[in-house]
């Protein structure tokens, strides 16, 4: 099929009425159209947010490229229609369609939905509803698509259990082929799902029954058949160099939020910060070789025409061959006038030197993420950075000509005391003072500019804080006000600006993060009452959620504000992400004692991930390069 000959699902009169019509027309460079013939599986990849956000996501490009390289599969895309089109689709009863073929979603074999953050759960129901697919997995028939979820939120998918046929736990590169081969056997739906449950990483929620204690806590989740595994083990790529990489990603024609080529240098993180879910669920740390990365970089430039290349990972400074990689990348990129962007770098002598080389822009702001103001609190969360390191980094940056510093903090961390909150202000002040000590008056370009912002901490599954109570909204706000007040008292307060994310979504995010499958009815109620785009502050309504909890007879406080007992059975305990509950509990006790745990590179903390026999667990430098 030729792109220019594709018939669009929406007539011009509708496309001309909606904001950014190119969100819905597809046909971007490197997107894939296939002939119906050898294709046996139609897969529609869905990111339940707007196009510009969804198209910024690397995972989607990986699966899209990988699946479309298979002759028998055609993978297409769909995103949440923005509110303007949502209204029109409902009024005119136009079924939701995929971008490439513009065919209705209801005719696909699979709808694959990525779960990146809790606040997009309601949008999933919008997609299914607009597509005319029954919301409840139990109500779907032989001709309905299989709805499969993936992504970080599948590490506790329970609040969405009613709506999904299947959750894919782990990295998408490994098990889709197996799943598709099984699908091509043409089994009846129920039998397909039953057999799929035997594939590593596949979690079929309908095959588990749940029992609850009288007080509402979960008692057990047990398979309904003997041959269904009692625990679902995360699947992952053992050797990153051997797996597919999307060097010809779809290049959006309208500006995406992250509009650049992405080079994923590694997966996982060695740091073990106790608040961080990504740090646990993507273990063990695995690296790509410099050789492969350079090959990908060249192909990406050739295939996309992007003028910016971004290195991606949870902590790029921990990539052991960064120096080697950057030397070569800088050479290739400057030749082609391509800018390199380096998020997630720790500020030290090396990174400042690198930034000097890659940023031909004015000395932009530098970002530190101390996460907590006091050393005591940073030890509680195991953020392996000391006050001295922060100040040293800042001093070097000031000497190097930077005069804008951004600092990220969290409020509401377990065990936080007023002095920890005040320490945020003090740290900012110390950094500002350091500027005036370091940079002689005649070399200063105005005042140093310290921007500190704090967000509210939400405890997540598979972290040491999964047992912890979340702070209450009133307390959050009090702390934020106290922090602001403390900033005002500092000597250098004029150089510091402090913001906090006044996020009404925190409570709901907290409930959904550690929720159980009874919450499916709440999500559905919110959707039925008009909830949509909750991740967008302007469309979020806390009241709508609280009303839904009430009408469903569930108490949101139960999910967030109690400290959980050591042995409580959690909704996500059925999932085995590699790290053991014993390890996490040890970390919870260490947090309470303010005891630091060494990172994976320094000393194995016996988290349990060695069972995967790969990456840093078997070789200190990941076996790459």
């Amino acid at each position: 099929m030729r792109f220019e000959d594709r018939k669009l699902a929406l007539p011009d009169r509708i496309l001309m009425k909606v904001e950014k019509p190119a969100r819905y027309t597809g046909g971007e460079p490197n997107s894939v159209c296939k002939e119906a013939d050898p294709v046996r599986i139609r897969f529609c990849m869905c990111f339940p947010d707007v196009y510009e956000i969804g198209m910024s996501h690397l995972g989607l490009q990986i699966l899209y490229g990988m699946m479309n390289a298979w002759e028998d599969v055609w993978c297409e895309r769909v995103f949440s229609p923005w509110q303007d089109l949502d209204r029109i689709l409902r009024e005119e009863k136009i079924p939701l369609f995929a971008l490439e073929s513009q065919d209705p979603l209801s005719g696909f074999d699979f709808i694959g939905i990525t779960l990146q953050y809790e606040m997009c759960y309601v949008n999933i129901l919008q997609i299914l509803d607009l597509a005319g697919i029954p919301l409840h997995a139990a109500e779907r028939g032989e001709n309905d698509p299989i709805v499969i979820g993936g992504g970080p939120c599948t590490y506790n998918p329970e609040p969405l259990a009613d709506f999904f046929d299947l959750f894919y736990i782990g990295e998408g590169e490994t098990r889709y082929r197996e799943l598709f081969d099984l699908y091509e056997e043409g089994l009846p739906r129920a039998e397909f799902l039953h057999r799929a449950a035997a594939i590593e990483g596949m979690y079929v929620p309908s095959l588990y029954k749940t029992e609850y204690h009288e007080d509402g806590r979960l008692l057990s989740m047990t398979p309904v058949y003997d041959d269904v595994p009692v625990s679902v083990k995360k699947t992952l790529v053992k050797e990153l160099d051997d797996c597919f990489y999307p060097t010809a990603p779809v290049v959006p024609l309208i500006q995406a939020t992250q509009d650049r080529a992405v080079l994923e240098v590694m997966r996982g993180c060695i740091r073990g910060c106790r608040f961080c879910q990504a740090g646990q669920i993507y273990k063990p740390t695995r690296w790509r070789s410099v050789e492969k990365l350079l090959e990908y970089a060249r192909e990406l430039m050739q295939n996309t025409g992007y003028d910016e290349l971004s290195l991606s990972s949870l902590s790029t400074s921990d990539y052991p061959y960064l120096n080697e990689l950057l030397q070569e990348l800088i050479r290739i990129c400057s030749e082609k006038k391509i800018n390199i962007s380096l998020p997630s770098l720790r500020i030290d002598a090396f990174s400042l030197d690198v930034m000097n080389k890659v940023q031909d822009v004015k000395k932009n702001s530098l970002t530190f993420a101390p996460e907590a103001g006091s050393q005591r609190m940073r030890d509680v969360i195991n953020k392996g950075i000391t006050r001295e390191e922060i100040l040293n980094g800042a001093e070097m940056a000031f000497r190097g000509g930077w005069n804008r510093v951004k600092l990220y903090f969290m409020l509401g961390l377990p065990g936080e005391r007023p002095e920890d909150v005040a320490a945020i202000a003090e740290l900012c002040n110390d950094i500002a003072a350091l500027y005036y000590e370091t940079v002689p008056k005649e070399q200063r370009q105005g005042r140093v500019n310290i921007t500190a912002s704090s967000s509210f901490f939400v405890p997540k599954p598979f972290t040491a804080f999964q047992w912890a109570p979340m702070d209450r909204m009133e307390s959050f706000l009090k702390k934020a006000a106290y922090c602001k007040e403390s900033v005002m008292k500092q000597l250098n307060q004029k150089s510091i600006s402090y913001h906090y994310h006044d996020s009404g979504t925190t409570l709901i995010e907290g409930v959904l993060a550690r929720g159980d499958r009874r919450l499916s009815t709440v999500i559905e109620t919110v959707y039925r009452n008009g909830g949509l785009f909750d991740a967008w502050t302007e469309s979020f309504s806390l009241e709508r959620w609280l009303d839904a909890f009430e009408s469903c007879g569930l108490d949101p406080d139960f999910y967030v504000f109690r400290e959980r007992e050591k042995d409580e059975f959690f909704p996500w305990d059925l999932i085995d992400c590699g790290v053991s509950k014993e390890y996490l509990y040890r970390e919870w006790l260490n947090a309470k004692a303010g005891k630091v745990t060494k990172n994976c590179a320094d000393k194995c903390a016996a988290c349990g991930c060695t069972s995967y026999m790969c990456g840093i667990c078997i070789s200190p430098k990941g076996g790459a390069a």
């Binding site: 792109f3 220019e4 046909g27 025409g305 822009v361």
Partner: protein
């Protein structure tokens, strides 16, 4: 030394829903992929020196739009045409490249008129009648909203009759027009279309507007922009 290449390009199909800035980004990336030796601006954010004759409206197709690009070195027009077309995504194509002579004016400054074809659902008879009616009037006043300095919108009346150089009904509901364009008077095909709708009633199909050619004026004559400014063309 500065060499400027002028590209005549077309777009059709779904890609017509892109805005002007999206097209700019699209071509910048295409140039990057093609290996054409684009010249970059100086400064902190070097960018290609690229400009368009006449920004395309969302949903408009074209067969004859123009983009100017400064080159770091002179290259044969044929080669550039081939290089760029080899990385074009379907629905966008380059039909001609001319290397401009020294000191040639940029495409945008040259724009004097443009041809359009609008595909409507009307009968030929209805269109003939409507066109005759319009051409017979001495003046055609339309309301245009204009932003004044304080960002307030104000509506002004404008006579567009002198800007209609040709207006003809064709077969199958097609409507051809040659309209004055540029910084002085600028008549848009949508203006004419709404006048036609006024006369013929609501259209049964979504009209499609296609730009066919953009002209500059040289020696009192309208010339396609690829023929303005001297220089060498692909195919010469």
């Amino acid at each position: 030394m500065s060499v400027t290449a002028r590209f005549r390009f077309g777009r059709k199909g779904p890609v017509r829903f892109l805005g002007h800035l999206d097209m700019l980004r699209y071509f910048q990336r295409a140039v990057m992929k093609s290996g054409i030796p684009a010249k970059y601006s100086e400064g902190f954010h070097p960018h290609q020196l690229m400009s368009f004759a006449y920004p395309l409206a969302v949903a408009m197709e074209t067969e004859g739009d123009y983009m100017d690009l400064d080159l770091a070195e002179e290259k044969p027009a044929d080669g550039i045409l081939e290089d760029l077309n080899s990385v074009m995504h379907e629905g966008v194509w380059v039909s001609r490249v001319s290397i401009l002579g020294e000191g040639a004016a940029n495409a945008m400054a040259l724009v004097a008129a443009a041809d359009y074809r609008i595909f409507t659902g009307y009968t030929k008879e209805a269109l003939i009648q409507a066109c005759d009616g319009l051409l017979a009037s001495d003046s055609i006043l339309i309301e245009k909203s204009k932003k004044n300095g304080k960002k307030k919108k104000e509506t002004i009346q404008k006579d567009i009759r002198p800007g209609i150089l040709r207006l003809e009904a064709e077969e199958d509901g097609a409507l051809f027009m040659k309209l004055v364009s540029g910084s002085g008077m600028n008549v848009r095909p949508a203006d004419i279309l709404s006048l036609i709708v006024e006369k013929c009633g609501e259209d049964s199909r979504d009209p499609l507007i296609r730009r066919l050619e953009i002209y500059g004026e040289e020696g009192g004559e309208l010339l396609p922009l690829s023929d303005c400014g001297g220089g060498k063309k692909s195919g010469d």
